[in-house]
């Protein structure tokens, strides 16, 4: 079965094009700086970057309504930022500061901002697919018209929760869009080496009565078009979608991984298809002047630098918050 052809508009409107470009560039510059900070030892723990995968985050975020829900993985900086969460609390969380997005209790792998619809970044592979289904079920029950969009990697397609969630979402016609960011590698292993079918998400879609949709995840407008249609269907009560976006992470799986297991020519070929320069060329060809794009780049660079300075200057969390927010009463007491 061939992938279902999705309509891709020749060019999107100027404002939308600039917004897509800006979102991708914000992700790229923030994550590039975050990577440097990790390598400099200024940020502890681990981090999983989506450098190279920004078009998926930007294309979807721009197709979502403000009150729609995003569920993402531990590789979630891009998706969090793309929904409008400011840079400063994200970096402060990476630095382990009191002003962090989660007050220093979550870290890089758990970015969440309920007020922006970012309902969490989940660090156990596949766990959030059922949770996103539940948010969609809630929206359906409340007749709120909201849609849940759930991003996950190719590796998640081989875990049970993926299959349980797909089946139940299809049976319930839940307004949820499952988005597989197929970046070709399950941690350090090529996904094809451990998966029975060539397209880890799309080839499973028919098992749940869903269309098999594959999109070029490095083409932000193609992603946007697919996202619009899937979200429209969900909002209209036509049920869930499963989308496989083909993309590539420029770096390794995590901070600890230089990604040396990947052939040089493969890395070079994908970097030549970097979504951001490609989109910049397309916008220039569409008549947007270079000064406009340069100004966006310069503004974002300043924003990142300012966010970093502010985050670094913030205080560390105090002992007073260690025993807060286990329970809804704000505390951690388990006995009288």
């Amino acid at each position: 079965m061939a992938p279902k052809a999705m309509p891709v508009p020749a060019t999107v409107a100027r404002d939308l094009g600039l917004a897509l470009y800006r979102t991708m560039q914000e992700c790229r510059l923030l994550e590039t700086r975050a990577q440097d900070l990790f390598f400099e030892g200024l940020v502890r723990g681990t981090t999983h970057l989506g450098i190279g995968q920004e078009a998926v985050a930007a294309g979807f975020a721009r197709a979502m309504r403000n009150d729609d829900y995003t569920f993402c993985t531990y590789r979630g900086h891009n998706h969090t930022l793309a929904r409008g969460v400011p840079m400063t609390p994200i970096l402060a969380e990476l630095f382990g500061r009191a002003t962090g997005l989660l007050g220093g209790k979550g870290g890089s792998m758990h970015l969440t901002s309920v007020e922006h619809g970012v309902m969490g970044s989940y660090a156990i592979v596949g766990a959030h697919l059922p949770i996103a289904l539940g948010a969609a079920w809630s929206a359906q029950y409340r007749k709120s018209g909201q849609v849940a969009v759930c991003f996950f990697g190719d590796g998640a397609t081989n875990i049970g929760a993926f299959h349980e969630a797909l089946n139940m979402a299809a049976v319930w016609k839940a307004p949820v869009v499952f988005v597989c960011e197929n970046n070709q590698y399950m941690e350090y292993t090529p996904i094809g080496a451990v998966t029975a079918v060539p397209r880890p998400a799309a080839d499973r879609a028919s098992a749940y009565g869903l269309d098999d949709i594959v999109v070029d995840g490095n083409d932000v407008e193609a992603v946007y078009a697919v996202a619009l249609e899937a979200i429209r269907r969900a909002r209209a009560g036509e049920g869930p979608s499963l989308i496989e976006a083909l993309t590539y992470r420029h770096g390794g799986h995590s901070r600890a991984d230089p990604g040396k297991y990947r052939p040089d020519e493969e890395v070079a070929a994908w970097k030549a298809r970097d979504p951001i320069p490609a989109y910049r060329e397309r916008l220039l060809a569409a008549g947007i002047d270079v000064a406009t794009l340069d100004a966006i780049d310069a503004e974002i660079a300043i924003n990142v630098a300012e966010a970093e300075a502010t985050a670094r200057a913030a205080p560390e969390p105090t002992a007073a918050v260690l025993l807060t927010d286990v329970w809804s009463d704000g505390g951690a007491e388990w006995r009288n």
Partner: protein
């Protein structure tokens, strides 16, 4: 007052809360059309409709995960896990997701959900359908755990669990489903975190939970009539939050403590109680702290073996008598 079975009290508790709050919904395997494999949810589909009472596939991760997602976004879901043994299938959702998310997000996310489950032994179902898992769940920060022993508490604690803004595990004991008891008329709720002194006594304190409560009570009657030992019996009712003060007050009076636990010995809830009393009630003690538990074994299926494994009235009576004699 009306007499209800423990089984009927479950459906009555769910119905009471669904009636007063439209955000309460119920999902699980066979909970709708079939009324539950133990008939615990009978009549709810007809009364509240398929939007609020939903049958699911055999997909414990999806059931519990979906309940969490719905709880994060405005509903108060009740998810049924048909047997508590099945927590193992969805342990990630329970431990890593539901329990931790409020804390990890700096308090941004509330998860007001109830996981109801048929817990415990006594039905000869064998090791994969007879476990007592209350000690698993109580060990996880972020989960509340109740285990009622009678119909009134079942209804009232279930209502409290549904109204609570935190995730609550409600352990419904399989061996108690047919038991009967008086339930107050009208809306009924029992706050979590309050133990109940179900029998006053001066010579020793016996702390029990769920199906061990009626056994402890029967043992107390026999200890009194046959051996002149006046035992106080505490129904713990709730493991998290734990009513430590009621236990400490009782031990201050009796100076002797026994726990009666159905969970396997290592890491059982009684170990936490014993530790607490050793630490905070030590100077009022006149005897060793004694745990009466299921041995550290899987639950066997044959009636003769299962009855040996689980603490019995005879074992409670014999243990209390022997250990009190040793200490005097």
């Amino acid at each position: 007052m009306a007499e209800l079975t423990y089984r009927a009290a479950i459906a009555a508790g769910i119905a009471q809360e669904m009636e007063r709050d439209p955000s309460v919904v119920l999902i699980g395997e066979d909970v709708g059309a079939a009324g539950g494999v133990f008939k615990l949810t009978e009549g709810l589909l007809a009364r509240f409709g398929p939007e609020r009472v939903r049958d699911t596939p055999i997909s414990e991760q999806a059931i519990v995960g979906a309940a969490m997602g719905a709880a994060m976004t405005g509903l108060r879901p009740i998810a049924e896990l048909m047997f508590s043994d099945f927590f193992a299938v969805t342990w990630d959702m329970v431990v890593n997701q539901i329990a931790k998310t409020r804390y990890m997000t700096g308090g941004q996310v509330s998860i007001p959900l109830v996981l109801r489950t048929a817990n415990g032994a006594g039905l000869r179902f064998g090791a994969q359908h007879s476990q007592s898992i209350e000690n698993w769940v109580m060990a996880i920060p972020g989960l509340k755990v109740v285990a009622p022993s009678n119909p009134a508490d079942m209804l009232g604690l279930l209502a409290a669990a549904i109204r609570d803004d935190d995730p609550v595990i409600v352990c419904e004991h399989k061996a108690l489903f047919a038991s009967k008891g008086e339930v107050p008329d009208g809306e009924h709720m029992v706050p979590m975190g309050q133990a109940s002194v179900v029998r006053g006594g001066a010579d020793c304190t016996i702390v029990a939970l769920a199906a061990m409560v009626p056994k402890a009570l029967e043992a107390a009657v026999r200890l009194d009539s046959d051996h002149g030992i006046d035992a106080e019996v505490i129904d713990l009712r709730s493991l998290v939050p734990l009513d430590a003060q009621t236990i400490l007050r009782s031990v201050a009076k009796t100076s002797r403590l026994f726990t009666v636990e159905e969970n396997p010995r290592v890491g059982g809830w009684g170990a936490e109680i014993v530790s607490l009393v050793a630490d905070e009630g030590f100077y009022s003690l006149d005897a060793p702290l004694v745990r009466i538990t299921t041995p550290h074994i899987p639950i066997p299926s044959a009636a003769a073996l299962e009855d040996l494994a689980i603490p019995s009235v005879d074992r409670i009576v014999a243990t209390v008598k022997r250990r009190l004699e040793e200490a005097t």
